[in-house]
């Protein structure tokens, strides 16, 4: 009997690895803890910790004469954000981020819809590659390339001339707030570059949301008497809002934090990103840079709460 029992069981092993394996099997919480502690430590200590450390420095004092930072806590930096010069930077960046997000969503939706609903197999792979390939190229190279495309005598201007639309371009460039002397020094040019660079970040989440939409929902809508336009407004669009929200969080926060495109394309004047870069690099005013870092975080928190209140995440 004992011989039978012992032969039916796997051979009892006393090796340390086996004992460890048995222990982990018996105590799943220990197993989970061993898996989770390293990434949580990384996330907690290194990621969140350093971010909070940075924000804490926003309360330090910067002496304008000695250029020295002393750890005396003050609200001065945060209050300085509301000085007209700084407040302008925030509004300028925010306006651009909103415009870029809206335009990206409008451009991305039809592409994402086509990818999700009408392509299969190789065509779908082609679209994935076409959308993502620009992201494989260096971001700086793309930004510089755009300065050449938009420059006076550049490709963009040539196209406009070929189409005999130069007066129209001049008209658009003369609009205050949008235009400038050429495309590459106008807000319009900066906007075009931002939309180009962040578009993939908008297409992919929308495409994923549309991909998850069961075809039977669209059939049910048609079956209940909805014309295609009604199905789009009542079913497809509401159910893709989480994807649009996710994509706009990318385009919004990336524009808020970018410091290269504002330097290369568009009129002079700081963006939040380039201001942070200038404060901590050239000037060495780390506390003011830290204070500016807080702005995108607060803006995105406000944005998310608005999106949530609009019910964007109800369908998740």
């Amino acid at each position: 009997m004992t011989a039978l029992a012992s032969s039916a069981l796997p051979p009892a092993s006393n090796g340390p690895l086996h004992r460890l394996a048995n222990l982990l099997y018996r105590k799943p919480n220990l197993y989970l803890a061993m898996l989770l502690v390293p990434p949580l430590l990384w996330f907690g200590a290194i990621y969140l910790g350093s971010l909070l450390g940075l924000l804490w420095q926003g309360l330090y004092t910067f002496d304008d004469f000695t250029m020295a930072v002393t750890p005396d806590l003050t609200w001065a930096n945060l209050l300085a954000l509301f000085q007209p010069a700084n407040y302008d930077i925030i509004l300028r960046t925010l306006g651009m981020a909103v415009a870029v997000s809206l335009a990206s969503a409008a451009l991305a939706f039809p592409i994402a819809y086509y990818m999700a609903r009408y392509t299969t197999g190789k065509t779908k792979a082609f679209f994935y590659i076409a959308v993502m390939m620009p992201m494989w190229a260096s971001y700086i190279v793309k930004a510089y390339a755009w300065t050449l495309l938009l420059a006076k005598g550049g490709v963009a201007q040539w196209f406009v001339e070929q189409l005999h639309l130069t007066p129209l371009l001049q008209l658009i460039l003369s609009v205050p707030g949008v235009g400038g002397s050429t495309l590459s020094t106008s807000n319009l040019g900066r906007f075009l570059v931002f939309v180009y660079i962040w578009l993939p970040f908008m297409i992919l989440p929308i495409q994923a949301a549309l991909e998850r939409l069961p075809p039977s929902l669209l059939q049910a809508s048609a079956d209940l008497g909805a014309r295609p336009s009604q199905t789009f407004m009542q079913v497809i669009l509401p159910l893709s809002v989480p994807g649009i929200a996710a994509g706009s969080i990318f385009t919004f926060s990336l524009t808020l934090g970018d410091f290269i495109v504002p330097q290369l394309v568009g009129p002079p004047g700081y963006f939040i990103g380039s201001m942070v870069y200038a404060q901590q690099g050239a000037i060495g005013n780390m506390p003011m840079a830290a204070a500016f870092t807080l702005v995108p975080i607060v803006l995105i928190a406000i944005y998310l709460s608005i999106v949530k209140r609009l019910g964007a995440f109800d369908a998740l």
Binding site: D223, V235, P238, L239
Partner: protein, 343 residues
Amino acid sequence: MTLAVQFTDVSRVFGDVKAVDRVSIDIQDGEFFSMLGPSGSGKTTCLRLIAGFEQPSAGSIRIHGAEAVGLAPYQRDVNTVFQDYALFPHMNVRDNVAYGLKVKGVGKSERLARADEALGMVALAGYGERKPAQLSGGQRQRVALARALVNRPRVLLLDEPLGALDLKLREQMQSELKKLQRQLGITFIFVTHDQTEALSMSDRVAVFNKGRIEQVDTPRNLYMKPATPFVAEFVGTSNVLRGELAQRLTGSATPFSIRPEHIRLGDGQASGDDVVVNGLLHDVQYQGAATRFEVQLENGQNLAISQANTQWQQSAPAFQPGQQVTARWAREAMVALHDVEAR
């Protein structure tokens, strides 16, 4: 009586596959009509052709006399209850039910009142504020039904709506569906692969196989007078005897069907006009209400026999596996079968 749906030589081809192959059906107004068949037999494609999700490759489909080929789903006066229910996850139950009225431009107060009325009809009054995700499978099923019925369609299409429910709920929904259909007088077209479901609910059943209809008949006729070997074996269980054995027993090589419960198991003496065969009993399965026997005939074919256990006393089984037995049945219980092509 007018026809609710009429198929005339309808085919639907996907690449090389004939999903529906020259099907003609007449479905009466107010009828509970089932389409029964194994998966891939074309029954769901036929339903989708009526709904307008598919267009036929050939043939004509008339809904209440009007040609429907070329019409989009939203132009047809039919509604569908989907297999996966297809409830809109971002709307609450009331808005789901009111959706069909909303897109047709019915005013808000009227459509919400009618939605609540429809929810009451499926015993879900008071559930209007919930989201579909907060409901059980059976409740979602009822919402899908209410959403289709609130539009007062002349034809209701049901695509295996009970497939995902457990047995008890299924049986309850079967009788409720039947009751609802009688009460409303709407034509129900019900697709299922479950023959018990089809037999117990329907006025008439069409049996599909490989894109073609094998037989359209009342449940009773389908069971008692199957037309083809496929119907005999798919609807209930049956013994289909063919070839030499059929020749010897009936004097004709036409295959025939005999139901297991119409066969009696004896122990030797034959009498009267019964058909008698001998064989080896090789399996006995006790199934509660009935006992099932497997007898191997002399030509090697298996014969299934089912005997109802009508005695309430416990008694020793009369037959043991390994025993030589005689099986007999009334000559009239045999049904001659014809292949669908020969019909």
